[in-house]
């Protein structure tokens, strides 16, 4: 059955829902006039708001949800008590194959738990992973896993690499994205057995030519590769450490530029260039954490974002839907299995990949 809707939209999730959700859809509608959105939430309220947003109104169908999941609700409670929530009904639409994906700015833990349990992982995938896009010196960089899996084995890392590579093709539009495994050194013997095994499999795979090998922490922002592959513990720490370092620098610059009258004047003179830098690093441009490896596209927008940020999250989800992201992943994993089976040197690794159901 073909999905009737491109995306189900949780209209009630996020700090300023449903306003920024609808304003975001109005922006997104301009870029995706072919899309069809299933807007899930308080029907009476949404109907009136949608009447004021002409472009979005054309693409949206309303579905009533009497509840919303609070931002501080535990995932287990959301599972039990959230059956009539806008988030749950939007996710249900993906599970029922009414919509190809879902976008929500609501409770992250609840979205991840509901998506994993209701939408479920692709049969080829052992563990779904959380990915995001960030800035680097050479453009955008994709990193995964960012915390969905605290412990990972070689098979998980290989699957993350295939998913990340496919994601970079779909969303960054790169014809042959490069990727690397995050490690404590770039030499082949660095790291643990798990990393070395994953590297060996990837080198011999159909995307071996795009595999840069091991990379280090500084390579993330240097743009050494398009996709950084790591376990959820390391990825989560690296993401937050990088964000923390950038925040420290921003805060210190703010102090610098307000520390004296000449410094204030200097700021005013450099402002157009500083504004371009700020715009380039704008968190809204990088809004959207993506749960990869499920039977549908699942994008989490930041809860505190504005309409522009929500529209970016919709963009990412639409890119994935339009590129038939999951079909591409399944093809990639099938080619990986074939490569590993055909390559005698990789025979010893077969048990790892062999766990993949055919």
């Amino acid at each position: 059955m073909t999905q009737g809707f491109s995306l189900a939209i949780d209209a009630m999730g996020g700090d300023n829902a449903p306003d920024i959700v609808l304003d975001g859809l109005e922006l997104a509608a301009e870029r995706h006039p072919e899309a069809r959105f299933l807007l899930v939430g308080d029907e009476a309220r949404l109907g009136g708001m949608l009447a004021l947003r002409k472009r979005a109104a054309k693409l949206c169908s309303l579905r009533h949800a009497p509840d919303a999941i609070p931002s501080d609700m535990k995932p287990t409670a959301a599972l039990r008590q959230g059956r009539n929530s806008s988030m749950r009904l939007a996710i249900d639409a993906v599970a029922a194959r009414e919509a190809a994906g879902v976008v929500s700015a609501g409770n992250t833990g609840a979205l991840m738990a509901l998506a994993k349990i209701v939408v479920k992982a692709l049969p080829e995938i052992d563990r779904p992973a959380l990915a995001a896009i960030g800035p680097s010196a050479r453009g955008d960089v994709v990193m995964l896993d960012l915390g969905a899996n605290v412990q990972c084995d070689a098979r998980n890392l290989v699957e993350f690499a295939i998913m990340g590579e496919t994601f970079a093709r779909a969303v960054l539009g790169l014809p042959a994205p490069t990727f690397g495994l995050l490690n404590v050194g770039s030499e082949e013997l660095k790291g643990d057995e798990r990393l070395r095994l994953a590297a060996e499999i990837l080198r011999e795979s159909h995307v071996g030519a795009q595999f840069h090998g091991f990379i280090e922490g500084h390579d993330i922002t240097a743009g050494t590769v398009d996709v950084v592959v790591t376990d959820g513990f390391t990825g989560n720490v690296a993401l937050k450490t990088g964000e923390g370092a950038l925040k420290l620098m921003r805060d210190l610059l703010r102090q610098v530029f307000t520390s004296s009258v000449p410094a204030r004047l200097g700021y005013l003179l450099a402002r157009p260039a500083l504004d371009r830098l700020r715009e380039w690093m704008d968190p809204r441009r990088y809004n959207g954490a993506i749960l990869l490896g499920l039977n549908g596209v699942v994008v989490k927008s930041h809860g505190g974002t504005d309409a522009l940020g929500f529209a970016h999250a919709v963009d990412v989800a639409m890119d994935m839907v339009n590129h038939r992201f999951n079909d591409r992943i399944r093809e990639g994993l099938a080619r990986l299995s074939a490569a590993v089976e055909a390559e005698p040197a990789a025979a010893a690794l077969a048990p790892v990949v062999g766990e993949t159901p055919a």
Copy 2:
């Protein structure tokens, strides 16, 4: 036996040795007139250079070493072939208890390997750890392990915490440094069993009041704690990711301030304040990676640093020597064992700490 020398100095290690080493000692001599340095290297060359540096000359005794370890030599080769090198003879002086510690700007891998094998770990310590000091929004922050141990168990993390806390008292001069365990969330149930067990032991220890619990990546630069405790894999990635993010920001700012005539002018006006920021974040202020948990103080200066940076590395080593750093660690570990034995709730954890030789 009391050590005759405060520090053995590898005069021939680093990109600009022995010049910056001797200039660094001349600076350090001003701050540590009570110190005694064993200067190890090419005697003929060093004698003449020392004659030109009066303050350093007063504190230094020369010891001849015919060789120097090249910067690209593998640690295993350094062990076999470096027996007459300046680095090895400086380390030998620590092992022979002639000097309380060693400072070298030479080959990092060789220094770490030689120090571990020749100087050896303290009997109470399972695994030595690599620590460094960096900038945070609230002052300096210590982080360890930065890569000496890719895999760690709960006992290792607990020992790192005791060593880091002691280090922050000795080198940062804090009376009761706070510390936290790096994790993917601050809630008690986050992370793996190893982290939860380490946290439980630390909460019940004699430094439990200083234990902040779990922290996240962004807490490192936010200055949430004085000491960040983590395994060597995560610490190495976090350190390099944070450095990479700061470098990206510096590079982008350089572009901003050269992008137009007004921006250049703005830079000139804000320059005094920007220079203060640059000085505060100066990598030379944070020069020196410290291998903690050995039978002596071992400090690695950055190979490319200048005299000021080398003097800072000597400062760190002298602070550790003057505070009898290793005695403090042994006291800390003894108190930890006593606390764990006295606390009935921690009985289940005794096997972990019980591995510590009495």
